[in-house]
């Protein structure tokens, strides 16, 4: 029953999917055993984000919205780290929010760690406002005043008493918003942040989401886009630092190669099957 009397192309097309799972596991383990570097070209949409921040003078404010969950941590955490390093290295002030319900603790960890590497202090060099439910409402409210949705920061300190927030009231006081999102919060930043308040918005999204946002790039509703791990690796290359994204690229290469080979092999079998059946008729 299992393959006896079947042609090679039928056996190929009906292969147990567990063999494919096993092959995927093997190709993902290979880079861990034999790491290799992956050359990464720089795309215009990633360079736009980097150059925008690079041209900001010291003391200017960037709003970094860490709007993702642990499920998309592998793709978006490297972006957050690269952007935080760049902002702190340039002595920019940061307002950080986390509009994903599972994100604040994760955001707190990365911001605290990167800030410590640059000797930056919470309240003096950056403010972490934390999480509030209903991202659309929160984004709209921050356009009026950050203090409306966030009377206190993540640590319970009244925002009015935070030195870095003294002259920051709403989006008019920030140079841009960079939203790293694994869901539809990215759309909300475009619809409410950029459309209603005119604040420049850039997005960092997962690979599968990236193609959805090119229309907004073309219409200049967003000024830059970081697509997935590759976008994060490009950003790290622009920063001349090797981070998690650059270390994750070999795994992407091997798994993508497997999928490409699987597509080719499946179609070889499919074409052979079709020809055999046409010959029989």
């Amino acid at each position: 029953m299992n393959g006896e009397g079947q042609a090679w192309y039928d056996r190929l097309l009906n292969i147990d999917r567990r063999w494919i799972y096993l092959l995927m596991a093997v190709v993902v383990i290979v880079p861990a055993i034999r790491p290799f570097a992956v050359p990464v070209g720089i795309s215009g949409e990633v360079r736009a984000v980097h150059d925008f921040i690079a041209e900001l003078p010291p003391g200017q404010v960037v709003h970094l919205a860490i709007d993702y969950d642990p499920s998309t941590l592998a793709e978006l955490h490297p972006m957050a780290e690269a952007i935080l390093h760049q902002c702190f290295a340039q002595d920019l002030r940061l307002v950080i929010t986390a509009l994903s319900q599972f994100g604040p603790a994760m955001a707190d960890e990365i911001v605290t760690r990167v800030a410590a590497e640059h000797g930056k202090q919470v309240g003096v060099d950056y403010a972490f406002l934390g999480y509030k439910p209903y991202p659309a409402i929160t984004i709209l409210a921050m356009g009026t005043d950050y203090r409306v949705p966030f009377p206190t920061d993540y640590y319970g300190t009244p925002v009015d008493s935070i030195p870095v927030m003294r002259d920051i009231h709403n989006y008019a006081n920030v140079a841009c918003v960079i939203s790293l999102a694994g869901g539809n919060v990215a759309d909300m930043w475009i619809q409410y942040g950029n459309a209603k308040y005119g604040v420049p918005v850039a997005l960092g999204v997962t690979g599968v989401m990236a193609s959805d946002y090119y229309p907004y790039l073309q219409s200049r509703q967003i000024f830059g886009l970081l697509p997935g791990v590759k976008g994060a690796a490009e950003y790290e290359r622009l920063r001349n630092r090797s981070g998690e994204a650059s270390r994750g690229m070999p795994y992407q290469v091997t798994s993508h190669l497997l999928i490409l080979v699987a597509m080719v092999v499946a179609n070889i079998g499919f074409i052979a099957q079709r020809r055999a059946r046409a010959g029989v008729r």
Binding site: S71, M263, I271
Partner: protein, 209 residues
């Protein structure tokens, strides 16, 4: 009146909020902020409802099916552990607390693992789905092949050609189709919202039309 009052409230509120968007007066902004606060309050009131539904559904499933009892106990125990651990505000902001450790060493790995398993399913799906059955399927296959190839380091000039083709695919046909979808969805949302405001669509009243 049981049907008319909710429809009237929705009509008046919807109309006021639509007009508010275009009125740049301080009173209009105050109304907007006030309304947003109410949305948050109503949402918070939905939280205990959601928790009750979760617990009730879990207990009922455990009573009906003995095989589900272990998972029901895990669900309820995990829920109670996080709630009890998170009662104190300091549990959120102080490193090394029970809540932080459960989040960092249980929640994050679990969520990341669930998402990571997609790679296996995608490989299997690509093997079975991307076949040259029709001309359109062939176009889909070739496009997917080219776009996925950009991750793979290729020798020059193949790398340059591939990047240029991928950029064209993303910037022209992909953008055109996504734009059409976005506009369609937007028009659909406007239409649906108008139907709710005008009382034509009454699904929010429990499906009673």
């Amino acid at each position: 009146m049981k049907k008319q009052i909710p429809i009237l409230i929705v009509f008046i509120t919807g109309l006021v909020m639509v007009l508010q968007y275009f009125v740049p007066h301080a009173t209009s902004e105050f109304l907007f902020t006030y309304a947003n606060d109410f949305v948050i309050v109503i949402g918070i009131l939905a939280l205990p409802l959601g928790i009750f539904s979760l617990m009730r559904g879990t207990v009922i499933k455990a009573k009906r099916d003995p095989r589900e009892r272990f998972y029901a106990i895990v669900t309820i125990a995990g829920f109670l552990a996080m709630v009890i651990a998170g009662v104190q505000r300091s549990q959120f902001t102080t490193p090394g607390t029970w809540l932080q450790n459960m989040f960092s060493y249980v929640m994050i790995p679990c969520q990341a693992t669930i998402f990571s398993m997609l790679a296996f399913y995608i490989a299997s799906a690509a093997y079975r789905a991307f076949r040259v059955r029709t001309w359109l399927a062939t176009v889909l296959l070739v496009t997917a092949f080219i776009v996925m190839l950009r991750i793979v380091p290729l020798p020059e000039p193949l790398s340059g050609w591939n990047s240029a083709i991928v950029q064209w695919i993303l910037a022209v046909p992909n953008m055109a189709s996504k734009r059409a979808i976005i506009i369609g969805v937007g028009l659909g949302a406007i239409s649906y919202s108008m139907k709710i405001i005008l009382g034509i669509e009454r699904g929010y009243m429990g499906g009673d039309r």
